[in-house]
Amino acid sequence: MDELRRALDFCVCHQTILGYSTVSLLTAASEQIFSSVVFKCPCNSGNMLYGSTFLLMPAFILFLLGYMVNTRIWRLLTGSCPPENHCSCSPWGTCTQYCLVLAVVTARALVAPLTWIAVALLSASFYECAASGSSLMEDFVCKGKGQECRKLLVKIPCDEKLSKDITAEHLSLQAQSQLIGWLLIASIMTVALIAKCISRCDSPARYRQLKLLKTYSEKEQELFEIKAKEHATRLAEINTNYFFGVTDPVPFQTPSNEDWQNINSLYTFNSKDQYYSMLHEYVNTKRGKSNESGQGGQ
């Protein structure tokens, strides 16, 4: 049991990396399933459309899914344009905040689609099918070889021997695909490293403080869920008991709509105030104000 606990602790500590690795593994596995079970290149003039559909549509769907499961974007969007305002919303001040959050969310949402494209290019079946039907490839491979070459080019995905005959002087379609795949992986890694360097250089918090910030956010989220469940259970108990006439109405303190609104916006750490979340800032400033008003009343 100790070992299991240690393994689970390790998983919880590194859950972001494990999460992304699981997504990548699942994407790779489903790509293998698709290309071996579902994918059958038609070997005619529809090759280009078919191959590019299988290459790009799943990537697009994974991209949209990436947006849907990201909570940051919903935290920002929910209630941002209620019907009472008649949609005269989004003042310019928050435009930069929206754009920044959108950029971060887009970058995270791009992990799964780029994994799909990279794995698909490495396994080469989709690219081979698409390229064998593309007019660019026709012009490149069949220069000076006549009409027969063009007719046979589209049959390459269905017949391996043809590939050696027609593309003998150039890189085979499969090799091209794998080359592009590796280039894509290398460039994504480089861009990711540069982006992380820039964001860390620009960060208002120091290295160890960032770790505390991350741990604090996770713990606050965990405890928020627990506290919300407890609060909801107590409120539901009071309401249902009163509905059935079991007890008389019991006064119960619940945060107001305004309180919820105030803790909802996404928090950006600043080195002056050193608050670790919107909740932290709200609790400190609210308590400060209520202390002042208490003293003023005396």
């Binding site: 059958k40 929910t78 909801a232 249902t240």
Partner: protein, 309 residues
């Protein structure tokens, strides 16, 4: 045990994703079973009708099941005959269509999954389109093939045509390719539409994200508490009734909410930004502090069911 608890908690948190994946796997399994066991393409002029029926009838059945299992449907329709104003309240006639639209969107998930899986597999589409006698379509599919293609396309799905193997194999692959491209288009369109509608609905939400999360937790907990209290009261009431019946005693009073209270509590709740209510019952409780109208049940005249206290 701690480890097991943590694992269980992780899976409970991901229950939406697990639910949808399970539904997708079930759809894939069901489609496989259908296409292997039940589906036999007739390879005649009836191909088109047969293929379309197999493609769309399960989708229709799944849609109807989706309507059945959604509790909002029954909340909307129960008692509407006696009180039509409930569905079309004064000054808010679009209310019914808005709620019905929401229910329909939820119910459409399973049929769309079926359609996409069936189209990606290609068997039903291949059978249906090989029987389509539209001249434009036939010209497009058979354009560089022999004359036999126009007459024997419907036999291609069963490998019974007299065309050479390469030609019939290419025709099959073409039809399958069309089916799979259509399948991907269906999935992409659905994903895009659901992202856009979720965005619009979120933007127009009257409360913030965190409060909406709390609202969901509260709704779940209230449902649980209601179930518990129903069990408790149903047990108490039935015990009392049976005891009085068998032992011929006077029934003691068990107070229950009045009919109007049940009617009010059964309304569909919509969030308001000005009021701090999380459900219809919460609203009733906060707005009726003098006490829900209690019915003293023992005083009912069982013959004509009027209060005779």
């Amino acid at each position: 045990m701690d480890g097991f608890q943590t694992l269980l908690k992780f899976f409970m948190n991901q229950k939406t994703a697990i639910g949808y994946s399970f539904m997708a796997l079930l759809t894939m399994g069901g489609e496989r079973v259908f296409s292997l066991v039940a589906f036999r393409c007739p390879c005649s002029n009836e191909n088109f009708r047969y293929g379309l029926v197999f493609l769309f009838s399960p989708a229709l059945v799944l849609l109807i099941i989706g309507y059945f299992v959604n509790s909002k449907t029954w909340k909307l329709f129960t008692g509407c005959w006696a009180n039509p104003r409930k569905i079309f309240p004064r000054g808010n006639t679009c209310h019914f269509f808005y709620i019905f639209g929401q229910i329909t969107l939820n119910a459409l998930v399973a049929p769309v999954m079926w359609l996409s899986v069936a189209l990606l597999n290609g068997t039903f589409y291949e059978c249906a389109m090989s029987g389509l006698k539209n001249p434009t379509y036939l010209n497009a599919v058979c354009h560089s093939k022999s004359e036999k293609c126009f007459e024997e396309l419907h036999k291609v799905a069963c490998d019974k045509s007299s065309m050479p193997f390469t030609e019939s194999d290419e025709l099959k692959r073409t039809l399958q390719a069309q089916s799979q491209i259509l399948g991907w288009c269906v999935i992409v369109t659905t994903a895009l539409l659901s992202l856009l509608t979720t965005c619009c609905a979120s933007c127009q939400s009257k409360v913030s994200h965190l409060q909406l999360m709390f609202l969901r937790v509260y709704t779940e907990k209230e449902k649980e508490k209601m179930e518990q209290i129903f069990q408790l009261y149903a047990t108490k009431l039935s015990e009392r009734n049976l005891k009085c019946f068998f032992e011929n005693k006077e029934p003691e009073a068990i107070p229950l909410p009045a009919f109007q209270a049940w009617e009010d509590a059964s309304q569909l709740y919509s969030v308001s930004s000005s009021k701090q209510y999380y459900s219809t019952i919460h609203k009733l409780v906060e707005e009726a502090p003098k006490g829900i109208n209690e019915e003293t049940e023992t005083m009912m005249d069982f013959v004509d069911r009027r209060e005779t206290s």
